[in-house]
């Protein structure tokens, strides 16, 4: 099966083309084709996961072109990290595809949605299967494209169109730095193959500041794609897209690509002097984790809460990787995929029922939408980090690594954990408890095609964490499966686990105090902590900062260029046009008098000559005879004088 791993991205890719061209006429208007393709890929991924768990590895490469004397290769590789990613993308993806059948029901561009989803799945799978930077970058750009297409799926809404543009441009900034990093590697090492680059690092031919620079540049791409500071501004706006999109791309998979990238190229980060690159990664991750979590407290849009939560959790993953917690970071990626997708889909179910995103208008939905409530509760507990749910094991491991590596980062992470529990339960209490605040909505439970995926994801969120738990006898299975040799993790500490749980519990309690039992009203909090509240509501003024420092100068430059274009370039073009018109007038005169004159002259000559010569035809035989006689005389004279 490993030999046909290339089928995994190919099946959704074919589905994309089929749906694009045949769309409406396919069964289920393309949905079944998409689900079928990804489902098949999922089965293949499961088989491959099994094979890799028993030690299977595989790689296949093919030279595509040569640049000068350096070959450019394409190929794929299957190892534990890839197998885990394949599993996550296909399983979560399939569930979200099924959910979309219900959520997008009746949309006029229904088939196209599934086409884009299939293309995204193919691109993401290509990305994780890549064994060199070239194919990785290709997949990277493709997922960016799909993100753009899907955020702006309802492009009639100006907010959606703007958001898709913002997402693309912001991630492009990150991609630019990543590309510089790739170029640096290519010209230093001579190959883009991961194996070759890592070998160069180990032999020392790629080392020192150059290595740090390359690693940080590549991390730049991850910063963009995974919405870390300072390129995080696009992810909240991306919530304009349909909820399945938010779940799949902006929670579970695409944004995790940045984390995957750091994990895949960990050799570069690890070997940079004094782990400098890793420190950069960890601090950016840690700061992002805390900052985003705090902004999540004051959001009223249910999807925005989850968006900032995603940014924050991605920060945790980066933090984990940065403190030499390779396994922890990747583990958190996997668990987060499941419970964040679950949270988003449940939110989608709520939005579908309430026809609004505003949690202030909701309330008391627990009685009306029990399945959604329970599943969202599971997701919330997983996110907050309550055992035995998935998020606990991964987050706990990250905090443990941070504690042993860098105390500052630990405090950041711990504070973030408290805030995380607080905001997610704020959201849950607002949405499901109390009584319905809106007077116009008539909510009801969502159809089974939507609730069944929720249940499945909830089940996963419940148990998936256990593969990373320290079992007696077998130990930490996930750690043994996915690990980095040099980064040996810290052993499980029961007291530490209790500490993490306590932090999470404290957060939930605080949220309950304010929002469930209303012992302290949120209005009071807002008044007391007014300056802090202002900062949070304005999202630390990041968007305003960018508007002034980046957007305005760029727009000004564009306007100057436009003026130049209109006056100088268009002017030059028009001037040329005027010159040619003038020339053509000259030619016309020439043509009219000289050329036409010549032609007319020929005609006039013929006519004149004819007019004169016709008089020869007198019709009188005697005239002709005279000419004959004269001719005879001439011939005779010629004959005589010869």
């Amino acid at each position: 099966m490993l030999q046909v791993a290339w089928l995994i991205p190919l099946l959704p890719f074919i589905a994309f083309w089929v749906i694009l061209f045949r769309g409406r006429r396919l069964p289920g208007e393309g949905a079944y084709v998409a689900i079928g393709a990804l489902g098949l890929s999922g089965l293949l991924s499961l088989v491959i996961l099994g094979q890799v768990m028993f030690g299977g590895r595989y790689q296949a490469t093919m030279v595509w072109a040569t640049m000068g004397d350096r070959p450019l290769a394409v190929g794929y590789a299957v190892d534990p990290l890839t197998a885990v990613m394949l599993f996550v993308v296909t399983v979560v993806g399939s569930l979200i595809f099924i959910y979309s059948v219900g959520y997008m029901h009746g949309d006029p561009r229904y088939p196209r949605f599934f086409a884009y989803l299939s293309l995204f799945a193919a691109s993401m799978l290509l990305l994780v299967l890549a064994n060199n930077f070239l194919v990785l970058y290709a997949g990277w750009e493709l997922v960016g494209l799909c993100s753009y297409l899907l955020i702006g799926f309802w492009f009639e809404r100006p907010a959606a169109a703007r958001a898709s543009m913002k997402a693309f441009v912001t991630t492009r900034v990150g991609d630019f730095f990543m590309f510089l990093g790739i170029l640096l590697l290519f010209f230093t090492v001579g190959s883009l193959q991961f194996d070759a680059v890592f070998a160069a690092v180990q032999t020392g031919s790629l080392a020192g500041p150059l290595l740090t620079l390359a690693a940080v540049l590549i991390f730049g791409g991850a910063v963009g794609k995974s919405a870390q500071i300072p390129l995080h501004v696009w992810l909240p706006d991306a919530m304009e897209g349909p909820t399945p999109v938010s779940a799949l791309i902006h929670a579970a998979t695409m944004v995790a690509a940045g984390v995957y990238l750091v994990a895949r190229t960990y050799e570069l980060f690890f070997s940079s002097p004094d782990h400098l690159a890793l420190t950069v990664v960890a601090y950016i991750g840690g700061l992002t984790a805390l900052m985003a979590a705090t902004i999540g407290i004051v959001q009223d849009d249910i999807k925005r809460v989850l968006a900032y939560s995603t940014i924050s959790q991605l920060g945790y993953m980066m933090l984990g990787l940065g403190v030499l917690g390779y396994t922890a970071g990747v583990f958190h990626l996997m668990t987060h995929a499941f419970f964040k997708a679950l949270l988003f889909l449940a939110a989608g179910s709520v939005i579908h029922a309430m026809n609004t995103n505003d949690i202030k208008e909701m309330g008391g939905l627990a009685k009306v939408m029990p399945v959604t409530y329970v599943t969202m509760l599971v997701g919330g507990l997983a996110l907050a980090g309550v055992p035995p749910f998935a998020g606990f094991w991964s987050k706990d491991e990250i905090l443990l690594e941070a504690y042993h590596h860098d105390r500052t980062l630990f405090y950041l992470g711990a504070a973030g954990a408290f805030v995380t529990a607080f905001y997610v339960f704020r959201m849950i209490f607002y949405t499901f408890t109390g009584s319905l605040r809106s007077h116009t909505a008539h909510p009801h439970e969502s159809p089974q095609v939507m609730t069944v995926p929720l249940i499945v994801l909830a089940a996963f969120s419940g148990v998936i964490g256990l593969v990373g738990a320290p079992w007696p006898l077998v130990g930490n299975m996930f750690h043994r499966f996915v690990h980095f040799e040099a980064a040996e993790g810290a052993p499980f500490d029961l007291r530490f686990a209790a500490l993490s749980t306590a932090i999470a519990g404290a957060g939930i309690l605080a949220a309950a105090v304010v929002y469930r039992w209303q012992l302290v009203s949120s209005a009071t909090l807002r008044r007391v902590l007014a300056p802090a509240y202002a900062v949070l509501v304005h999202k630390y003024w990041w968007d305003e900062f960018y508007a002034v420092s980046v957007v305005r100068p760029v727009v000004w430059v564009a306007q100057q260029l436009r003026t130049f274009d209109v006056y100088a370039i268009d002017g030059a073009v028009n001037a040329i046009g005027v010159v040619f018109v003038w020339l053509s007038r000259l030619y016309r005169v020439f043509d009219l008098y000289v050329v036409d004159g010549a032609v007319n002259l020929v005609g006039w000559l013929a006519k004149a000559a004819g007019g004169r010569l016709r008089h020869v035809q007198t019709g009188r035989a005697q005239n002709y005879l005279l000419v004959i006689a004269l001719g005879v005389i001439v011939l005779a004279v010629i004959g005589l004088t010869r």
């Binding site: 005697q622 005239n623 005279l626 006689a629 004269l630 005879v632 005389i633 005779a636 004279v637 005589l640």
Partner: protein, 163 residues
Amino acid sequence: MGELAAFMILSLVTLIPAVVVVTSSNIVRAALSLVPTFLGVTGLYVMLQAEFVAGIQVLIYAGAITVLILFVIMLTEGGTGVRTRQLNDQVPLGAMAAVWLAFVLIVIFTRTGWPTAAGVLPAYNVVAVGNAFLSDYVLIFEVTSVVLLVSLVGAIVIARRED
């Protein structure tokens, strides 16, 4: 000496009426002037010891053809032609052409060395001519007969009235 005088007289008898033929404004006078021309030619034939040809010349030319011409003159315009102009506008050019041609021909004739052979014509050249017609030139003889027949019929056909 006598031969020369005869030649000169006969030449003048031939040429001067010929001038009248071609220049006279009176068509009848012109037609009648043909007669002395033909007779002069007859004389020349006699001088050239072609008596049979001379006889035929008188019979056909001076006799038949002249009369035919006179008849046609009568049947067409007749005497009314006297009052109309007889010479067209080509006179200067035509005269010039004729003079030049004469000049050229005379130059040719006098310049060329003719291979004159002194021989004797058969005494009774009628017999000789007759023999020639019926032996060496019998084809021409027969064809000429046919032509005569054809022209006879043709002339009648052409000239008859269409009623």
